[in-house]
Symmetry: C2
Subunit: 230 residues, 2 copies
């Protein structure tokens, strides 16, 4: 039996790269990347291309979309040049300034439209609930609700669901899972602030570095500084 | 007490214009228009501007977004230059070729992001379920499911819901409601095919003309032909 097709959302970061490696075990891949005005867009796009090459995904099954309206709408330090990206605070439960209002619905909507035309059966997203920044649109209840929207809002013959294979993993387990599956973590990019060397202190760097440190493995990326988060 | 703010999705067509008139009774308006590569984009945008002027909505509360990916993804006669827009068949229950895969999720996602930043409390959309083209993402169950995604995927302090005030109306009742509220139906545009005179025979023209004919009122728009649909 031939493999079914899965659309994987690939930001260029570690979580989505490991998610692609998980999806690749049972599915043919179609990779989607969305530029939404985030400050490190150029670097993320390079990571997306290299991850696509690594997994041997043919060009017609790679889609890069650019949406301007999240920057126009603002409300996030990731997209608003007037707002600085804060240093990480991994002990608070508050929603950080990097929250982009309702962002994941935009990404998933593009994935669903593409998947419906491609007749793919699955959409994979590397969302992480517990060991994460606390964004409301990264929780399991959110994805269950979105799957109901897909059931209601697509053609009757379309069977399509969002899969979140790493949502309950801690970052250290994501690092270990990536190494176990041979995912190319050295090609990924996580920093919210910089594109040549990672800053090491934004929310995304802090979560990544803590994951590597807890797993006892050295992160292959170059950093300006590598604080200890354990 | 000052009026609360509502984001209204305004395509430029009759249904969304009447929906804006309904919303304007109790709310301040913020109007959102999305270009998604539909063939009559220019004409719809003109209608959007004129409807905004009619309701006196200040420019900072009007947002026009352009998304290219629905055209890139294709799968619909509304966005694919290779696919002709079919003549209407108002007696079939099949989903017509004009269905744009999962389109309304894109429009609603933009509305939610904007509404969350504006701290609006409502999103109005002029979806019609029964007397319509049969798109799966225009049904009441779809919007209920989407409201659950909003509850799950926005900040805890955000209270925001999609309202569909005309979803159970027949087209003739939408025409009557529009006249009763003084909605500027003469400024709206519904045709999927043409921009100077409406064709009179696409799905959207047929539904509109049938509504006016059943209401016993003459549609103020110019048409190439006006078949009888009653």
């Amino acid at each position: 039996m031939s493999k079914t097709l899965a659309v994987v959302l690939v930001s260029g970061g570690m979580d989505s790269c490991v998610t692609a490696a998980i999806a690749a075990r049972h599915h043919e891949l179609a990779l989607l990347h969305v530029n939404y005005g985030q400050k490190t867009e150029t670097r993320e796009l390079r990571a997306f291309g290299q991850i696509g090459d690594f997994f041997g995904v043919p060009i017609p099954r790679r889609l890069v979309c650019s949406i301007d309206h999240l920057r126009t709408i603002g409300g996030s330090s990731l997209t608003d040049p007037q707002l600085a990206v804060s240093n990480a605070n991994l002990t608070t439960s508050e929603i950080p300034t990097s929250y982009v209002p309702f962002r994941n619905a935009h990404l998933l909507s593009i994935a669903v439209s593409w998947a419906e035309v491609l007749r793919a059966k699955h959409i994979f997203i590397g969302a992480v609930e517990e060991d994460s920044s606390g964004y409301p649109d990264c929780r399991i209840g959110y994805f269950s609700a979105f799957n109901e929207v897909i059931r209601q809002g697509t053609r009757p013959e379309t069977t399509l669901a969002v899969e979140t294979p790493i949502i309950h993993l801690r970052k250290q387990d994501i690092v270990r899972k990536g190494l176990e599956l041979g995912a190319p973590l050295e090609l990924t990019w996580s920093c919210y602030r910089r594109e040549a060397k990672a800053c090491g202190t934004c929310d995304s760097c802090a979560l990544r570095l803590r994951g590597f440190q807890e797993a006892g493995i050295e992160d292959p990326l170059p950093y300006i500084e590598r604080p200890s988060y354990v």
